[in-house]
């Protein structure tokens, strides 16, 4: 598990990418993207998170089990988001059954 840890060079490369993405996300704030604004900002944040997980946290070099556990947390969160938003989005829909 420890022989294929990323080299120091990789760390600095990843760090550089993270800073660039930071600049990108701040830049995107000034561009009037309208409805795409949250999509872009969350997309960049997701990308940064993936970079950190895969390289800084060595998940890329870890066993399948660690990858599974890393993904499990986010998967459960997705369940939570989807079903809760299912309620909030459809709360005021009134079926036109009887009219």
């Amino acid at each position: 598990m420890h022989n294929n840890y990323p080299s120091v060079r990789t760390y600095f490369l990843v760090f550089g990418a993270l800073l660039l993405l930071l600049i990108a996300t701040v830049g995107a704030h000034f561009v009037a993207l309208g409805p795409f604004q949250p999509v872009v900002s969350l997309g960049i944040a997701l990308l940064k998170a993936l970079l950190i997980i895969l390289f800084f946290m060595h998940v890329k070099a870890s066993s399948g089990l660690v990858k599974l556990f890393a993904a499990a947390g986010f998967l459960w969160l997705l369940i939570f988001f989807l079903l809760t938003f299912g309620d909030f989005a459809t709360r005021y829909w009134v079926p036109t059954l009887n009219q």
Partner: protein, 317 residues
Amino acid sequence: MIHLPGLNQASTAAGQVDLLFLVLLGISSFFVLLVSGLLIYFGVKYRHGSSADRSNPPATNNFLEIGWTVALLVIGLPVFVWAASMYFHDEVPPNNVLVINVLGKQWMWEVVHDNGRREINEIHLPVNYPVKLHMISQDVIHSLWIPDFRVKQDVLPGRYTTLWFEATETGEFPLRCAEYCGTQHSGMTGTVFVMEQADYQAWLENAAQGTSLAAQGEQLFSRLGCAACHKLNEQEDGRGPLLLGLYGRTVLLEDGTTITADADYIRRSIVDPQAQIVAGYEPIMPTFANQVDEQDLLALISYIQSLANEDGANQGK
């Protein structure tokens, strides 16, 4: 319809719910008897020391496992579909419905009829006529439950919830608060009086104290100075949106979204006007949250609904 002792079926929904109960009871009894019967049978037959044939006991049987899983689905899902369709039907009131406002507050129910008649912990309503209870709470979450009608609906603070039914028997039926709401939660009970149509009208008329709800709303409308900004005819253009014919219409808001002008919209526009600015108007309306209580809001909303009626452009209350 099969009648369960101690609980009469006094609404259109009651018979269906009781039938669903009996079907579920039947299915459950079958499985309970099946499982306990097998447990007892195997227990006796294969008890230690008995000379039953115990050769090559099966370790597993995929056919059996898949079989009873599919069987459970085949039995379960139709029950879900039936129960869901009943629920779907019970949640949406028909058009021609008598609306009664119910105000839940810590530990009593205050009922306000459209003609202004008020009652505490009692609801008088006609038989064989769909009735919609338009409910809101003044403090915590309550829940209006009328066991004999098999209906229940939480009463939320800050938002109107509705509960509709059609009583099929005259008489007195208990109503109870089902959601825990504090010290006297168990004291928050009352009675529903279901009366013949004629008796109901007579009851409504003879004891009507003072003005109807809409009229009370009109007095409030002028007293609070709403008329200063909200004009009542198309000619004058006031600083506030025109309220004539507003109820039931879809309104375009400042941020581009549209919303139907129902009771909730009007209530929120009075209590928290900044939350929904109508397109083309300034956010200058102050909040009236501390000048009106829930009853005044009911009166104002009833008044605004009546404005729509004169205009004739209203799709149902």
